[in-house]
């Protein structure tokens, strides 16, 4: 349960006694029994949230299990994450002057780790005991397709359509696999990190410091810049 406790308090107490979150621990241990090997990684932030990463094959089963055995009746959202570091940096430092892509950083993953560029992210909730869980699943670049949840959670229908058009992930057995927001003939997947945000690239950033130096004087970087 998400308690009315501030993160700050949580950390302070964490330093004193490592906090245990029995409800969430319980959920994870039960899930381990139910899903077995399919549960790849889990993470709990005590009294805040819980994450679980499952294998792609168990994606549909996970939903089924959560709905039927854990009363996770409430479908919260389904989305995807592209872990590729943006090749365009923050799109801020005068991209027009620097059209070459920034040297790509190493790909790093967040909570519960990961192995592939694309991860699916979903969240379901138990409306009676007020317990939610975020789920993740890795998707290989070579096979960006996964079973659709819409047979279990009808609400996943639109979310999957959105993910599919924004990230280029295919959902198998989806009842209506057409684009949701974008026009039908749109090409490309806008939410991927390598899809350039044009609005930030057609105009120079006005924040470049171009206070001209006095003639005959060396530039002293940003002396008044706070």
């Amino acid at each position: 349960m998400i308690q009315l406790s501030s993160p700050e308090e949580t950390t302070e107490e964490e330093i004193e006694i490592p906090k245990r979150d029995d409800i969430r621990e319980d959920l994870i241990s039960k899930l381990k029994d139910d899903l077995g090997e399919s549960l790849v990684a889990t993470e709990i932030i005590a009294e805040v949230d819980v994450w679980a990463r499952v294998t792609k094959e168990a994606w549909l089963e996970t939903a089924q299990v959560l709905l039927t055995r854990y009363n996770m009746k409430y479908f919260n959202f389904l989305s995807a994450i592209d872990w590729l570091p943006s090749p365009f940096g923050r799109d801020m430092d005068a991209q027009v002057d620097q059209p070459e892509p920034v040297t790509p950083e190493e790909m790093t993953w967040g909570t519960t780790g990961g192995e592939t560029r694309f991860q699916l992210l979903a969240r379901v909730h138990d409306p009676e005991n007020h317990l939610g869980i975020s789920l993740k699943v890795d998707l290989e670049d070579t096979d960006l397709s996964i079973e659709s949840w819409s047979s279990i959670y009808p609400g996943a229908d639109w979310h999957e359509r959105e993910v599919s058009e924004m990230f280029g992930i295919t959902f198998l057995n989806h009842p209506n696999p057409v684009k949701l927001y974008l026009p039908g003939d749109f090409e490309g997947y806008p939410m991927r990190k390598d899809f350039a945000l044009l609005a930030r690239r057609i105009k120079p950033w006005p924040g470049i410091v171009d206070v001209e130096d006095m003639p005959g004087e060396e530039s002293e970087e940003d002396e008044v810049d706070a």
């Binding site: 006005p206 130096d213 706070a226």
Partner: protein, 168 residues
């Protein structure tokens, strides 16, 4: 629920009739705009005013603006020393300070981040233009808005915030 005596249809007629009478006797809630004007509260974000003397062309506002709608150009010059015999001070002079109000989202981040108290909000709102290009307010125009900047309000009891003053 309490017992309803009259049918709701008739009670509903009463509500509209009551409003009719109230409007006729006590006047309407609307104002006849160009003749009567409502005054927005002092904090209202109408248009941004520039206190030019305080601006050092530090570019902070232009960098923090989410819409990239502030354009600043400046140059450096040597100001005469404060005390006789001292070193001449190096200062930034403001050549251009434009805010494009056709792009501005009125978020107020520029006013917040300004470390030198050079930018202020004024509740003035009557500056619509026929051409969108005219919404680009330059240094002179922005400085004129300075006259309309109201004083900061006092704070409610229990506040520990410090009341600022507007440089005039």
């Amino acid at each position: 629920m309490r017992k309803i005596k009259l049918p709701g249809l008739i009670k509903g007629l009463g509500v509209t009739f009551k409003t009719l009478v109230r409007t006729l006797t006590k006047g309407s809630h609307t104002v006849q705009y160009p003749r009567v004007k409502e005054s927005p509260p002092p904090r209202a974000r109408g248009v941004i005013a520039l206190h030019e003397e305080n601006c050092t062309a530090c570019m902070l506002c232009a960098r923090e603006c989410p819409d990239w709608c502030i354009y600043i150009e400046g140059h450096k010059y040597k100001a005469p020393p404060r005390r006789p015999g001292g070193k001449p001070r190096k200062k930034n002079a403001l050549d251009r300070f434009d805010i494009d109000f056709s792009l501005c989202m009125f978020c107020g981040i520029c006013v917040d981040v300004c470390p030198f108290e050079a930018l202020f909000w004024t509740p003035e709102y009557e500056y619509s233009e026929l051409k969108i290009a005219d919404l680009l307010h330059d240094k002179t125009l922005l400085s004129q808005w300075m006259e309309t900047v109201p004083d900061f309000e006092d704070y409610e009891a229990g506040s520990e915030a410090k009341k600022l003053t507007v440089p005039r």
